[in-house]
Symmetry: C2
Subunit: 338 residues, 2 copies
């Protein structure tokens, strides 16, 4: 008889069971429902596990039980400060219930998102969390066919088949417009860059311009310096404002752009907020430290992570439904720059 198949070389449940003089199924229970195993057996198993350095093979377990205790989270970026709180809050919460987090970034590309979703589904996750409501047809099809709960975060639109955990991005624009108008600014510009780091910057601009025009009768200037680093984009925006001289407030796609603007203004001698106010989006840690400190719209990043985790756990039956599916709210943190 030839020895078929190479084994992985790692200790298996069977080996642990043998060493602990019990059956594999009891060892399995030891890991999954310890309270169903007697104290004496538990100790023997614990000793065997330690001696063999046994680590359960989660792939095998997931295969056997048709449910891996893993939840996939896809965000546009895992490094952008704006998403870090969401990741942290989500991860904390699901790991408390024994779920592991599979994290990937779509790098602001819908194609890359499709790739990542496919890879995730390959692991048969218990649930999937994706960013926003916009996906490729392929992604949509996979999500629809995957028989796992799906939650969409960082946006809020009522016409979707999945639970939404986020805020309405046009609401942000109205908040910013009202705030700047109330402070007396009338010649307002919006600065963004294609790699600003969020998918909704252009959408926010549209509603910002529409709102200023509709509610306050003001035109808006769009400053878009092209594909450069956000911080450089902020600098270029300030340079343009100094050239044209007809702008008294700048709303930026995010705090990186806004930081670049504040720092460049300082370097170039434009007084903020006297000559031009700057309002950011994201409320990154740097906002408070800048000189002058940066006013910013703060998205509910942490709440998104928490609520999304709760929603997922509800769908999985781990948590009782709360059923309060509302849009979350952004707040405005006024500081010295406006």
């Amino acid at each position: 008889m030839t020895r078929k198949r190479r084994s992985s070389g790692r200790a298996t449940l069977d080996q642990v069971a043998e060493l602990a003089s019990t059956s594999p199924i009891t060892v399995s229970r030891y890991f999954n429902r310890p309270q169903h195993v007697s104290e004496a057996t538990r100790q023997r198993i614990a000793a065997a596990v330690a001696e063999l350095g046994y680590v359960p093979n989660l792939a095998a377990g997931g295969l056997a039980s048709a449910q891996a205790r893993v939840i996939g989270l896809v965000l546009p970026s895992i490094s952008a400060p704006i998403y870090v709180d969401t990741i942290q809050a989500f991860s904390d919460r699901v790991s408390r219930y024994g779920y592991q987090l599979l994290l990937a970034s779509s790098e602001f590309s819908l194609e890359k998102e499709e790739e990542v979703v496919r890879a995730f589904l390959g692991w048969a996750p218990a649930a999937l969390v994706v960013t926003g409501c916009q996906h490729t047809p392929g992604t949509e099809q996979m999500l629809a066919r995957a028989s796992v709960p799906v939650v969409e975060v960082w946006d809020y639109r009522p016409d979707r088949p999945y639970p939404q955990v986020g805020f309405a991005h046009d609401e942000v624009s109205r908040l910013a417009a009202a705030f700047l108008h109330e402070r007396g600014y009338r010649r307002i510009a919006y600065a963004q860059t294609p790699i600003a780091g969020d998918l909704w910057a252009a959408l926010r601009y549209e509603e910002f311009a529409a709102c200023l025009l509709r509610d306050y009768g003001l035109a808006t200037r769009l400053i878009e310096p092209g594909a450069v680093h956000p911080i450089a984009a902020g600098r270029l925006a300030i340079e343009e404002i100094m050239r044209s001289g007809d702008i008294d407030a700048l709303f930026c796609a995010n705090d990186n752009v806004a930081s670049g603007a504040v720092l460049a203004a300082q370097r170039l001698g434009l007084r903020i907020p006297q000559q031009c106010a700057v309002l950011g989006f994201g409320d990154f840690p740097i906002a408070e430290a800048l000189f002058p400190s940066l006013s910013s719209v703060r998205p509910p990043a942490r709440d998104i992570g928490e609520v999304a985790a709760d929603r997922v756990l509800e769908e999985l039956g781990t948590l009782n439904p709360d059923a309060s599916t509302k849009a979350l709210a952004c707040t405005l943190a006024p500081r010295e720059s406006t």
Copy 2:
């Protein structure tokens, strides 16, 4: 006959095979070695896959082949700017060879690292990359017993059983000390915070102080404002320097601390670099934009990711060995703040 077992509800290889009038094994080959399948069969399978929305179950595949095409990467933080380049470079490189990245942060805690390593090993990854040379005994045992290649990154010490991809942190200190001395600074302080975001800040301080004393006969002041946000720590360091008035250069544990220092100095009226020079570590994107712009020691973050990926791929036999295991080098980016 009772129907045992719930199936996952997803399409399986068998279903695809049936629809494509071929055998499961051929469909398996279609995904893993397409060149071994004839063009005609390939097209039939592709159609069946599309129709069923089939996504291969990677857990089952990994189990059957005893090698999941997944590589685990454990870093102290996935949000700290300093690690972002490493993640990016590593991910790019391994994904090009068909490996997926399993990413986790140990949050600067060795206990958390042990937890994460255990979870990763549960997925039977093809390889594991961990940060630094310091681990709990439990982690060490798991790494030693796991029959997968292990690589350690972001540090360089010759006395370890695993390949190292990183730089010598004491070298950074010598570089910084030489640079500041050469520029004529003699009353030098070092600022750090326990949550500064890297495991080696204290080690760098020790060598920094030792080197200044040994090579230049200078004493070093340590400023450690306690567990506050790095940016706030920078501000507190500047406040202390203004109080005492006997410091002319500040080396910071990282660029967040240094940014806080530069911004606070500006706010409080301390001229940089005339009254006090500031040198950072990490060369974060903000360094260049600050006013005055921040001099910083740039670690080879991207190189670490690339070389670690190469080392891993070599161990897996995917790449031919290069065998040049040397420490990588940090460079110094001098700007206005020194």
